[in-house]
Subunit: 199 residues, 2 copies
Amino acid sequence: MAPPASRRLDQLVQALQRLPGVGQRSASRMAYHLLQHDRDGALQLAHALQAAAEGIRHCRLCHTFAEEDVCPTCADPARDPAQLCIVETPADQAAIERTGSYRGRYFVLMGRLSPLDGIGPDDIGVHPLLQRLQATPAVQEVILATSFTAEGEATAHIISRLAQALGLKVTRLARGVPVGSELEYVDLGTIAHALADRR
Amino acid sequence: MAPPASRRLDQLVQALQRLPGVGQRSASRMAYHLLQHDRDGALQLAHALQAAAEGIRHCRLCHTFAEEDVCPTCADPARDPAQLCIVETPADQAAIERTGSYRGRYFVLMGRLSPLDGIGPDDIGVHPLLQRLQATPAVQEVILATSFTAEGEATAHIISRLAQALGLKVTRLARGVPVGSELEYVDLGTIAHALADRR
Ligand SMILES: [Zn+2]
Ligand SMILES: [Zn+2]
């Protein structure tokens, strides 16, 4: 068998497999495409990866990805500080924002409980959330918008107990959201309806 | 709707969509995974992309990806210069190498004819192949190992005419390779058999 034609090509194929859902064959196809047809794209992606990995941190208040200490949503004085909506991911937050029917604030867990995967309360943002609730007396209502999956429900349950122990009103998105689905993939009307019907 | 939380995040999601087969949703998931769980992977991929895009060129003789002027396979004096096997991609070449049943040399077209996509003889390596054949009198047999698809057959047909005009013997992998399939995905035994039965 011939020696590999290029060590750099091998390393690129290896590195592409760090992407979720990309196996050896997809990685080879991606590397071939970039090198043969889109070297500008390869350099642009290299730059974007480095800029993101080195320049993106977590918002001090809501924990989502941000470039500044505080993200634009948290910095917006027009958002109602009495409501705090708890979501699992930035994508879920974006889905709620797209409904245009929520003007409160957010906390982004960046994950959800998954005991089978070894993901406990300390691995998602439960501790920073508790700090946030204790440090922000303006919060009156915690709206649980975690997924309607077993893991999302368990996450909601833990946060519900913490918030109730602090004397806060706790609501959950109405079950208009189809059970078993991830919020990110739910249509906007359903999310808006579930927000209005929260209990 | 809230302003985007991070311009760098948006740019990363955009850049990831330069990868073939990656849409907006996959790109978001990839960006989230890298930033939340694997920043080392993001930096490693950034480095590999840049190193490959800037350091990989085409072998002067066989046209495949290489870091040197001439790739290791072409530089190997043990390979038989009388046989030149024509393949579409480095992945196809690798598939043939894995059979261990071919000791001749290669030419890698880096594509195949696809009139519907506007890919003609000038877009794949037909012209460099002609130069290679004219400059290398040692070649006696051209083995066509393009895919057994309509596009691969059309590519083989054009090259066959060129090579015959130069007085060279032209063979084609035997039809042991399942019709309609891409060589890269064919099992090794079938490829070895097809090589032995070439006509
Ligand atoms: Zn924030
Ligand atoms: Zn070569």
